[in-house]
């Protein structure tokens, strides 16, 4: 099982490259597909949140409830996804001995569904 922080591999791979590229290569090589999926999800949520926040500041916050709903759905989903990532990451297994990845995913899914329920209630 590959670990996310495999320092020796990163160093050997990126010794002749720029630090950012080597960081990226280390991440790409040593992160499991599942965590990558979560990370892609997180990036998407962050960008979506940033766009909404900029729109709120620069254009209008007029249906403020819609802004709150849209922004909160991004932030909430981000928090839930981040928690999921923390819990299913094999590197953190010591800290979450009680929580199996399945249980973590079930909690994440339930939390997300509740979150979306509130978001759509608040949106219109």
């Amino acid at each position: 099982m590959p670990a996310t922080k495999n320092a020796p591999t990163a160093k050997t791979a990126g010794s002749s490259q720029s630090p950012i590229l080597s960081l990226w290569n280390a991440y790409y090589d040593n992160t499991s597909t599942r965590l990558k999926t979560i990370d892609a999800f997180l990036v998407f949520l962050m960008l979506s949140g940033i766009i909404q926040f900029l729109y709120c500041i620069l254009v209008t916050n007029f249906p403020f409830n819609a802004f709150l709903a849209g922004f909160a759905s991004c932030v909430g989903q981000f928090v839930l996804a981040a928690s999921l990532r923390a819990q299913v990451n094999p590197a953190n297994r010591k800290e979450f001995k009680e929580v199996s990845p399945e249980r973590a995913f079930a909690e994440f899914a339930l939390g997300s569904i509740v979150l979306h329920f509130f978001v759509y209630n608040f949106l219109g």
Binding site: S48, F67, F105, V119, L123
Partner: protein
């Protein structure tokens, strides 16, 4: 029903041709000075009777028949031809004459160069009379009548008077007009005429001198009025004649030039028709208002509603004694007011639908108690006033638009989050088949 009416109309018209009537009533009281004879006005009175009026004569000093009995006006119209009467019976006072106006009784009053109670009443109507004993005098055009008997050109196009009348003979006192907007000048003095107490021209210099000294200026020129109408707010009409002779048989039959009769007869008839509310009488039949695409009025309107206001107006036709739809008003306006008119828009006649005036407008973005106000006041025409109160309320909590175009980024954000969540879950569960094997393998290792 409509067909029946169309059939009946010509019959009615034939039947009532001889009975042209006023819109307010047919009874006329004529206060005739004892010094005047009924026979001297036979043409004028005869024309009135021919139209269907019932004339009652009374001397100004007689006590009966009463003008007002138990606070009810007994006659629809009162004619006061009393140029010489200094004291009237107890019930004919300036106050009672004015109160007649508020009871929608029309007055036809004749002035004279003499000082009478009517002269002081005239000033209440914003008519400024020259000093007593100064009749209108004119030496033009050259003629064989005394200078106080003057041919006056009738305005060729006047709302009230028939067009292209020959000049009328006039003898009497002119009136300067105050700035009262209810005055309706009907006949103006000729430009060469002036008011003078001198019978001959010898006193002319003295007259000019006196006029300059007193600061009043000369009572002269076409700004002086000879016959002046007045329409009170109650729509009752009062017409002041500068001299009673204007309506006399003498003047009616007098030739204005060789072979041409004067226009006095038609003029008198026209003036009486206006004064007795035969002509230029309008009324608002009904008022409707509703939201666009609806037919019934709402109890309340919401801000920014589009509302249609419609009014139906009729004009009185004295020949048929009928109210007919009238679309001739081009300059009517509608106001939508809450203290101030928030909207003032023209209320045009609708082509093809006689008597209908309609306008559609957007209710302002302001809630409160509003009024549709139609206030049409034009000289010589019945005043039309109508006021309808409607409350304008803000939208109810569930009447606001729910989804706004400005919020599309937020909606897109929320939906894309959900979509991404679903996609993520799918990927996660799809990956589940492989991963456990791998992890099992890893565990096995």
């Amino acid at each position: 029903m409509r067909f029946l009416r169309q059939l009946l109309l010509p019959v009615l018209a034939l039947a009532s041709l001889a009975l042209a009537r006023s819109s307010t009533g047919d009874s006329v009281l004529i206060l005739l000075d004892p010094s005047l004879k009924k026979e001297d006005f036979s043409v004028f009175f005869g024309d009135l009777e021919k139209k269907g009026y019932q004339l009652t004569f009374r001397s100004p000093k007689d006590a009966t028949p009463e003008i007002i009995k138990d606070d009810v006006a007994q006659f629809a119209h009162v004619v006061v031809f009393a140029p010489n009467t200094k004291s009237f019976a107890a019930d004919v006072t300036p106050q009672s004459l004015v109160s007649l106006l508020s009871k929608n009784t029309n007055l036809l009053l004749a002035l004279s160069p003499k000082q009478t109670p009517l002269s002081s009443l005239a000033s209440e109507f914003s008519l400024i009379l020259p000093p007593p004993g100064t009749p209108l005098v004119s030496h033009f055009p050259k003629r064989d009548t005394p200078p106080t008997v003057i041919p006056v050109d009738v305005p060729a196009t006047h709302d009230i008077i028939s067009p292209n009348l020959p000049p009328v003979w006039f003898s009497g006192v002119p009136q300067a007009l105050g700035n009262n907007p209810m005055l309706v000048p009907i006949l103006k003095a000729p430009p060469q005429a002036f008011a003078s107490d001198a019978d001959s021209d010898k006193g002319a210099d003295a007259l000019v001198e006196a006029a300059e000294k007193s600061g009043e200026g000369l009572w002269a020129g076409s700004s002086l009025s000879l016959v002046t109408g007045f329409q009170a707010l109650s729509n009752a009409r009062a017409t002041w004649l500068g001299g009673v002779e204007l309506f006399s048989d003498d003047f009616i039959n007098k030739e204005i030039s060789k072979g041409v009769k004067s226009g006095n007869r038609q003029f008198a008839s026209d003036v009486a028709a206006w004064t007795f509310q035969e002509s230029h009488v309008l009324r608002i039949d009904s008022v409707e208002h509703h939201r666009v695409n609806e037919t019934l009025p709402r109890e309340t309107y919401t801000i920014n509603d589009r509302v249609t206001y419609t009014t139906y107006i009729s004009k009185y036709n004295p020949e048929l004694d009928l109210w007919e739809p009238y679309s001739g008003i081009k300059d009517m306006q509608l106001e939508f007011t809450m203290l101030d008119p928030h909207i003032r828009t023209s209320l045009p006649p609708i082509a093809g639908e006689p008597g209908k005036y309609s306008v559609t407008f957007r209710v302002p973005d302001r809630h409160g108690v509003f009024k549709f106000v139609n206030d049409y006041k034009r000289k010589g025409w019945t005043y039309l006033t109508s006021s309808t109160v409607v409350p304008v309320v803000p939208p109810r909590h569930d009447e606001y638009p729910r989804f706004l175009s400005a919020a599309w980024p937020y909606y897109a954000g929320a939906f894309s989050t959900s979509a991404a969540f679903v996609l993520f879950v799918t990927l996660w569960l799809a990956g589940d088949d492989r991963e456990p094997k791998k992890s099992k393998g890893a565990k096995a290792e």
